[in-house]
């Protein structure tokens, strides 16, 4: 954690850092776009998309939203609660899958017939 913390006058950082991050966001977006252009499929595609997504999100939150210069108190207060969402995501993924499987097993499936 960097030590040039906040001060009554608010956040002061050299303009170059914003430009750098800006550039990185461009590059990362371009990468994600390339993933689609190259029509990568399967695990590679998902992991790359997620990787670029999290990098971008991290940069925005850390630098543009000044999170990396905030005090630990606020960082944790903001970053901890979304943990609940992770549980929801995990369980809903399982649930969606379960629903899909019962449908596949018992329901007439027009798409499968068409193939």
């Amino acid at each position: 954690m960097s030590s040039d913390t906040t001060h009554a006058q608010g956040q002061q950082h050299p303009i170059s850092i914003y430009l750098w991050i800006w550039g990185w966001l461009f590059v990362l977006s371009a990468f994600s776009y390339t993933v689609d252009l190259l029509e990568l499929q399967g695990l590679l595609r998902w992991s790359l998309i997620l990787l670029f997504m999290f990098l971008k999100a991290g940069l925005i939150v850390a630098v543009f939203m000044h999170m990396m210069w905030e005090r630990m108190a606020i960082i944790l207060a903001i970053l901890a609660p979304p943990g609940a969402i992770l549980v929801l995501i995990a369980l809903m993924a399982l649930e969606g899958d379960y629903t899909f499987v019962t449908r596949l097993l018992y329901f007439h499936n027009p798409a499968a017939l068409a193939e």
């Binding site: 913390t5 006058q9 977006s29 925005i60 005090r71 903001i78 609660p81 027009p110």
Partner: protein, 236 residues
Amino acid sequence: MAEVLPGTPGETPGVRGLVSDWASDQMAFKNVPWGKAMMWIFLLSDTFIFSCFLVSYMTVRMSTLEPWPPVSDVFALHMFGADIPLILIAIMTFILITSSGTMAMAVKFGYEKNKNVTFWLLIVTAILGASFVGMQAFEWTKLISEGVRPWGNPWGAPQFGAAFFMITGFHGTHVTFGVIFLLIIAWKVKRGDLDHERPGFLTGRKGRYEIVETLGLYWHFVDLVWVFIFAFFYLW
């Protein structure tokens, strides 16, 4: 051994600071103005909103037996004699990121009390935001003309249109509100309200440059959400 680093007097950084901040009186978030604290907590709440939208989208997409429409073709634009997949979305992404950059600099110049530059950066941000909304409107029109409706579409699962219009619509609404506030604040900057600490029309609060940062948080958040929408909706 914790050495007290230079910085604001009386503030311990890192994890030890975490404890002492929470254990202190008056403020848990040291030197965070009320407005900024409120915005952070609001954004947290908003995160839950968008997460729930995306989780719902994930669930219906995973559950349906119908094929999911071929996203990258659906969002292709016919340009230069070829169908370029997702090109409009890519442009929109670049625009939003750029607006985030200008916003970040507006915050910086705001704290430097550089009225003019701040004003122009805010205006540029607003224009970029507005053009984002415009492109979104164009995209909606295009999809609607191709037969995509909230209740169905020519290629497969009806949830495609439903989730698309709902999520991008909700995000677009956020952008629109952001643009409105950008214009209001830009105008306040221009008029010098923030320099003269003039009380707000409705709230009676004194104007301060901190409000630019608060607004900036909101704007970056809108950009952040787009990152997730881009990944999950358009690329997935």
